[in-house]
């Protein structure tokens, strides 16, 4: 099974630049190649939740 269709390479490069990272061309190639997986699981994650759903408060720990 091959990797899913990657994101646009220019988009990947912009994201890396925004994050302040300097990668070699080969390193960008690798991130670009697997970026389709990222897009897939972001799509699975989605954002269609009731407005009242709050994020997990993991630092408020009780039994």
């Amino acid at each position: 099974m091959s990797a899913p269709e990657p994101m646009d390479r220019a988009e990947v490069e912009i994201c890396l630049k925004r994050a302040g990272l300097t990668l070699s061309s080969e390193q960008i190639d690798d991130i670009h190649r697997v970026s389709g997986y990222v897009r897939e699981y972001l799509a699975q994650l989605g954002s269609d939740r009731p407005m009242a759903v709050e994020p997990a408060l993991t630092f408020k720990v009780t039994p």
Binding site: A19, T22, L42, V53
Partner: protein, 469 residues
């Protein structure tokens, strides 16, 4: 205290060594010497240690022996040799995270757990290998080689607590610490056939342990048996005001909670994580099914548990772990990108593709999953499933795409913070270890350990050690 005859041909468990030390039939000094000798002869093939603290170990063992002989025994860990995963800060002792980035890092203070284990009287034998900063996989481009699996050195010991699993299985330490952000205690525990406990989130302090992902990081014990993990957890657990996520809960007597039978225990089997969209290897599935039958024979009621699908956990887990890890390392990655190993870089850089909305959506999804899991587990005391998709994999031949294709069997319990104990449940036909998880309700760590102990005692898996490599 010079009788080591009981140790001929085998390394004792913590519980066994502790009893012998208590009755002065075993000397902590001789036990420490025995293990240092084993490290010297065996570890060059396993690479489980990044640093052996030989002089410190001998001095600590001598001190322990003198205190015990003088009637000042501190408890079951007094004089017991252990190792610390090399992300646990040790005052004045190099702590590297197995990375060039921290190659010469010497902390100025101990992690809370480091200090607690020292106070309990343990003897520190050294710092143990890890996947770089506790993420990625076996790396050959870090300053130290990756740890290898003592059951077959061509295979990975799992990770990220790779050195801890390998050293315990090979009988180089009696116990060790691990950390678990997505399965890093449970993966090496299953691949090395040792017992490993990822406690409830908040039970064990993370202070002084190099962070990976703040809201998923758990510290916990690894050892040869569940009983040994209970002894270690007793010393490690407890509230710590230095840790923002530390829980104020009563700490039970974990060893006293270990069970001999499972009469009336309601065990939920997460069947659809085995035979759903991501089937596990048949030999492992068979081993878990047989384990459930063993539990039934001990008196447990076994039913399927309607947990959320495995694939529902994966997106939130990936976004949270990578986003939080990137937040920790962003500044260093911006200036020293190539000082990290390829496995670390290729994973964590993906966080640059996420937005703030993605992270918040992941945390909202997580809350929904916590609630769905709680609902599913109502009516059960523990749930059981495999701890990995199968047996250990080879050290080389890394499948870059593999992690994207298959959701983790361990990450759900990092997202939900539930206690998860891993125990050996058999071996493949070729002799490689297989493991399963026993998962409890929040802060019912003692229940999960109790069930795992009863199962472990009913099987013969603990009588088998790796070949002397």
């Amino acid at each position: 205290m010079n009788d080591t005859t009981t140790l001929v041909g085998r390394v004792p468990t913590i519980a066994e060594a502790s009893r012998l030390i208590e009755t002065k039939a075993l000397s902590p000094v001789e036990l420490t010497d025995l293990l240092l000798k084993r490290i010297e002869t065996i570890d060059p093939k396993l690479n489980s240690f990044l640093l052996v603290t030989e002089r410190l170990a001998r001095n600590t063992a001598k001190k322990a022996e003198a205190e015990i002989m003088a009637g000042r025994r501190k408890g079951p860990l007094h004089g017991i040799p252990i190792g610390l995963k090399d992300i646990y800060s040790t005052k004045g002792i190099r702590t590297t995270a197995h990375s060039k980035v921290l190659e010469d890092h010497v902390p100025k203070e101990d992690a809370t757990v480091t200090a607690k284990l020292a106070k309990a009287g343990t003897v520190l034998l050294g710092k143990l290998a890890t996947h770089e900063f506790a993420i990625g996989g076996p790396s050959f481009d870090t300053p130290w080689p990756p740890a290898r699996n003592p059951w077959d050195t061509e295979y990975s010991p799992g990770g990220s607590s790779s050195g801890s699993g390998a050293a315990i299985a090979a009988g180089l330490v009696l116990g060790a610490t691990g950390s678990d952000t997505g399965g890093s205690i449970r993966s090496p525990s299953t691949f090395c056939a040792v017992a490993g406990m990822k406690p409830s989130y908040g039970l064990v302090s993370r202070y002084g342990i190099l962070p990976l992902a703040f809201t998923l990081d758990h510290a916990g014990p690894m050892a040869w048996t569940v009983e040994d993990c209970a002894i270690l957890l007793q010393a490690m657990a407890g509230h710590d005001k230095k840790d923002a996520a530390s829980a104020k809960v009563k700490i039970p007597d974990y060893r006293a909670a270990l069970r001999q039978d499972l009469k009336g225990v309601r065990v939920g089997f997460i069947r659809h994580w085995h035979d759903g969209g991501y089937p596990i290897e048949p030999e492992l599935d068979k081993a878990v099914q047989e384990a459930l039958e063993t539990m039934r024979g001990l008196g447990a009621e076994i039913r399927d548990v309607p947990m959320p699908p495995l694939s529902d956990f994966a997106p939130a887990g990936r976004v949270i772990i990578l986003s939080e890890t990137f937040a920790v390392h962003a500044k260093t990655m911006q200036t020293r990108y190539n000082d990290y190993g390829e496995r670390f870089r290729s994973n964590v850089t993906l966080a640059a593709l996420f937005s703030a909305n993605d992270y918040v959506q992941a945390m909202r999804s997580r809350q929904q999953l916590i609630e769905r899991t709680k609902e599913a587990m109502a009516g059960f005391d523990v749930t059981v499933c495999a701890a990995a998709p199968g047996a250990p994999t080879k050290m080389v031949g890394f499948d870059r795409d593999g992690a994207f294709k298959r959701p983790s069997l361990t990450m759900p319990f990092n997202l939900t913070g539930l206690p998860a104990m891993t125990v050996c449940c058999g071996f493949t036909a070729s002799g490689l270890p297989l493991g399963m998880q026993v998962v409890g309700h929040p802060f019912a760590d003692a229940t999960a350990m109790g069930v795992a102990h009863a199962y472990e005692k009913a099987t013969a898996w603990r009588s088998k050690r790796p070949p002397e490599v």
